[in-house]
């Protein structure tokens, strides 16, 4: 056992296996991670392999020692079974890979969707023109915040819960039937990155109001201007930020970033 552990070939093989286990099984366990797609796994493994090859060939003695078991398999008469087995296995794998490549199977067309497409400079809300550029949530400057939040909360629970969920994480009880999945407001990539005017636009105009790059034909987001008043939408926007703890992106920051 110890001789195997010291041998560069078996060290290299061990490292490869270990790297695979970490990428395929340990990484998804880390908080905030998901399953690593197989194409990405392949890329990582290729990188690891190159690294290992550089390491074993770095020193002449280690390189020779590394090649030894490979050479043994190729020439040793007592390893004839292993040799033939390997030959057959490699041949079969190549055959299968080729078959899966050439077999023409109809797949769903790729869905290239822009998650946060550029908003229009202004929208018409129930006949009223609203300029989105530079617009902040008007409710932050007027009235009682607690009352606004109470309205937002009622609006959210009466309308948004089935898709966006009780935890605002896009996992409501209807979410599984939708594609694209409802937005996850707890994620740092949605409302945390957006101005309140952007969120207002998305709520007011819904899926049908998306530009072409946002794949409006797939989105199940209703155009809420048909259901809610302007103040109700601003209230629910307030509620989203209050409930998740995110701060909306402000126009000053975006303007500075643009400088």
């Amino acid at each position: 056992m110890r001789t195997y552990l010291r041998h560069p070939f078996w060290q290299a093989a061990g490292l490869l296996v270990l790297a695979y286990l970490v990428i395929a099984f340990v990484i998804p366990l880390l908080p905030g991670s998901a399953m690593v797609p197989s194409s990405v796994v392949l890329q990582y493994m290729a990188t690891v392999l190159v690294g290992i090859l550089i390491w074993v060939s770095d020193e002449e003695a280690r390189w020779t020692q590394f090649k030894e078991p490979l050479h043994e398999v190729l020439v040793q008469p007592r390893l004839k079974m292993v040799r033939n087995g390997l030959l057959a296995a490699v041949t079969l794998v190549v055959g299968c890979l080729t078959y899966s490549q050439v077999r023409a199977s109809v797949a769903a067309p790729p869905n290239l969707r822009s998650i946060h497409p550029a908003p229009p400079p202004q929208i018409t809300f129930r006949g009223k023109t609203i300029t989105l550029v530079g617009l902040d949530n008007p409710l932050r400057r007027s009235g009682d915040m607690a009352a606004h939040l109470a309205v937002g909360r009622r609006v959210y629970y009466q309308n948004c819960v089935p898709c966006h969920g009780d935890h605002l994480d896009g996992q409501g009880h209807f979410a599984a039937g939708l594609n694209p999945l409802p937005a996850n407001f707890q994620d740092n990539g949605t409302i945390a990155q957006l101005t309140e005017s952007f969120v207002f636009w998305r709520v007011a105009k819904g899926g049908p109001g998306l530009p072409r790059e946002g794949t409006p034909w797939n989105s199940a987001m209703p155009a809420w201007e048909d259901f809610l008043t302007e103040d109700e939408i601003w209230s629910v926007v307030l509620f989203l930020y209050d409930q998740t703890g995110w701060k909306p992106r402000t126009w000053e920051v975006s303007a500075e970033a643009a400088k």
């Binding site: 109809v106 629970y157 009466q158 039937g177 048909d226």
Partner: protein, 510 residues
Amino acid sequence: MIHALLLLTLVATQDTTAGKQIYTKWCAGCHGDNGAGDGPAAKHMIPPPRDFTGAVYQIRSTPSSQLPTDADLLRSIDEGLFGTAMPGWKSRLSDRQRRDVLAYIKTFSTFFADTTQRPQPIKFGNAPGGGSGAEALKVGRQFYDSIGCRKCHGDLGRGDGPSAPTLKDDAQHPIFAANLHENWRFNGGGTVEDIYRRLRTGLDGTPMPSFGDLIENKFLTDEQLWRVAQYVRSLSPKDAPVVRDVVHAPLTKSLPHAPDDSTWTAVAVYWFPLVGQIIHKARWFSPAVTGVWVKAVHTADSIALRVVWDDRSQSPDTSWLAHVGRVFATLQSDDSTPEQPAPWPDQLIVQFPVSIPTGMERPYFLMGSSGAPVYQWRWSSIARTAPVAGLARGIDRFEPLSSGGPAAQAVYDHGQWRVVFTRALASTDTASQLPFRTGRAIPVAFFASDGSNGEHGSRMAVSTWYFLALDEPVPARVFISPVLAMVLTLGLGMLVVWRAQQKTSYRRQQ
């Protein structure tokens, strides 16, 4: 002693104070500020949220009428109640937060304050060995009949028993007998152990009684009750269905027109979940059809599409009118005037674009738009063999086409509709009737209404776009290239071996 009591009280107060904050933030939206199950979301879901003031809980390990244990309550908080709007909070709140909220929920009812009512979990026996074999399932089926499960759950378990239309919970809300073919939607979990526990304890507050007394009365042995659980479990697939985007329709010699044609048995089946139409007025928050099972085949000139879905009633059926009334009374409607129950039929709509799109752009999934219509087949239980083909330009605009629609055959069988649509691949009116072509991803979507659940018009269950592919026969080149690649690889490998051996023997000779 007094100190201990004081400490206990302190701990309890702390828990419920922290718990109240969590509760108010995350739970009250459905369950209400005072725990009465009357939060703002309450009238937008069936089953409605639990009313904590009565301390009546479905999912328990204790006998009927007893309070649940803390572990029981924690499990419902952690895992949620499957098939309902209650999510699992295990990954969403910390252990401490969930325990605090549990302590707070118990303060809504005086029953928990009464320490003489300490809940005692039932000691459950272990699952009998070999319980899922054919013989065991046969025994389970016998007891399924003899203890009367079929009265509500139906002969084949699809929740369509004779008493099903009359069921209501303690608060007079409508309630469905569970469809035993969808164990992933069982409120308390779908394993055989979960099912056995529900049989032993009953689901308090619902029509589902406890069958625990039967064991105490020696009417049934524990093992026989396990067999019932095994039988019920056997009705659902091994794993919950997974959505695959593309329905592959293989090429067959003859077209199966009948829903139960033997050709269908060898064809792969695809599951598509449906959810309530809550995008356009009037919205529908409580759809009865949970999904459709789809199979498709084609011949050189025609296509057959089989859609199967579970529906507890063969609508229109007046025996369900009272149920519809309860549904309308429970849900808040978008309409200003409340609707009156009527015996509506069941409906199914299969939707395609007017032509196969070349890019990724396609019409709006929810019945197209005025500028980009969709091509639909509309089937109704009152015209089972005469589906109507037409163009939809939005959810409330449908223009029937005069000719060239599909044919259909339908079967209603113990809580399940099976409908086969057949049509020629080619179409004479290519401007409005989709011509089917092989080897292409054809967008397809499904919509279903259960008339006996009050569904009609825009009140229905909907899916998003999926795809249908008429597979072409596998060309010969598909087999040539792998064989070629294998021959090459083998040859190359042998060459490497031969060279290596040559070299070695050469060295040895030297």
